[in-house]
């Protein structure tokens, strides 16, 4: 059985929750797995950092809360500072490299960084940053299939914006694939 705990972090308005929702949807609806999504309602969410916790598993998930994320995707420094200490020693850390400079990475951790803001700006809409990150996440973790994730993007964004959002996904995915080519995928389980 393989169960993966993931935490998505950033600041409000970046689409942190939507990113988590897309990965959960990709796994549960399009990839025949199980997934849960929980959002923070506690004091930690009242500041600028916000987060979504996603669990993806091959079997039913009995406890939906993330305790020690094996994958952390962060789009703000504050979220990185806050959530990095919670991760496992061998976690995959996925960052937006222009917004986040991770401190105190442990030796077993794997760092994947992408200039997602620049890619989103090149595509003409900075707000698709989170979708670039979802594409990148899909490529470097291989936790959900590319087609499943693309379908989840299509189903999750407003009608009429699908095309650019898919371009954003593909940009992140291709960058991620070029990064991991020839290297082992993160073994998170």
């Amino acid at each position: 059985m393989m169960t993966t705990e993931i935490k998505f972090g950033g600041f409000g308005g970046q689409g942190v929750i939507l990113a988590g929702m897309i990965i959960g949807r990709a796994a549960s609806i399009y990839d025949n797995k199980f997934a849960t999504l929980t959002q923070s309602f506690g004091p930690e969410a009242r500041g600028s950092a916000c987060s979504a916790q996603v669990i993806v598993s091959d079997k039913e998930i009995l406890y939906p809360y993330v305790t020690r994320p094996q994958i952390l995707l962060v789009m703000s420094q504050e979220a990185c500072n806050k959530f990095l200490p919670e991760t496992t020693d061998d976690a995959a850390i996925i960052i937006e490299e222009e917004l986040v400079k991770p401190k105190a990475l442990k030796a077993g951790m794997k760092l994947f960084s992408i200039p997602a803001t620049r890619f989103a700006e090149e595509l003409g809409r900075k707000m698709v940053l989170n979708i670039v990150m979802v594409g990148f996440f899909t490529a470097v973790t291989r936790l959900v299939g590319c087609e499943a994730a693309r379908e989840a993007v299509k189903a999750s964004v407003p009608k009429g914006t699908e095309k650019l959002n898919l371009q954003a996904f593909d940009r992140g995915y291709e960058y991620g694939m070029s990064l991991v080519q020839g290297t082992a995928a993160p073994s998170v389980q």
Partner: protein, 197 residues
């Protein structure tokens, strides 16, 4: 431009290639416009059957000012749609879209494919609104634009004349692209801010 040329299929399963116009396309573009029946040229703004008109377009090709997309079947151009940007002034947030499809390929969704491509492109270029102008008698064009999210913004009675000298009303239709992205922005904020409350 990395997504072009792109293969698409019309409603009758004809495989067509769509791509931006290039300088090599001058002869094919001229042939396309010259083959249009007069009925289809009634409402065009320039005399597209003149070689010097096409040559001028090709010479001045600048995707930042006008982005032209053609549909190609074999060596022939069978559709042409253009997106006209305004780089300065009170229309700089707005682009204008125009589209012509060869008679034999009309009513097969090709115009919609071309216009959909340009609407998406406009969204990527940060355009907030796309304007389309047509005569009041071009009912099917109005319906096609409606399907793409355009709404009638104004109608000016007896405002323009066709190439035969007949007066028509001018219909202005607008697609508020910024609305789409406002929805996306709202979606991001809705989900994220909800947990901050």
């Amino acid at each position: 431009m990395e997504h072009y040329p792109k293969a698409v299929k019309t409603k009758d399963s004809t495989s067509v290639v769509i791509r931006p116009l290039t300088q090599k396309d001058a002869p094919a573009l001229l042939a396309f416009f010259r083959a249009l029946p007069e009925d289809d040229r009634l409402f065009l703004r320039e005399d597209v059957t003149r070689k010097d008109t096409i040559d001028r377009w090709i010479e001045q090709l600048d995707y930042g000012k006008v982005f032209p997309m053609v549909a190609e079947l074999g060596p022939s151009i069978i559709g042409d749609a253009t997106l006209h940007f305004n780089q300065y002034g009170w229309h700089r947030h707005m682009a204008e879209i125009r589209c012509v499809v060869a008679r034999a390929h009309q009513k097969k969704g090709l115009g919609t494919i071309l216009m959909h491509e340009l609407v998406s492109y406009a969204g990527q270029k940060g355009v907030d609104r796309i304007r389309a102008e047509m005569m009041d008698t071009q009912i099917s064009a109005q319906k096609a634009f409606q399907r793409l999210g355009f709404q009638k913004a104004a109608e000016l009675k007896n405002f323009v004349i066709d190439i035969q000298g007949k007066t028509h009303g001018l219909v202005i239709m607008v697609n508020d692209v910024s609305d789409l992205w406002k929805k996306m922005e709202d979606l991001l904020i809705d989900y994220d801010i909800r947990i901050e409350q």
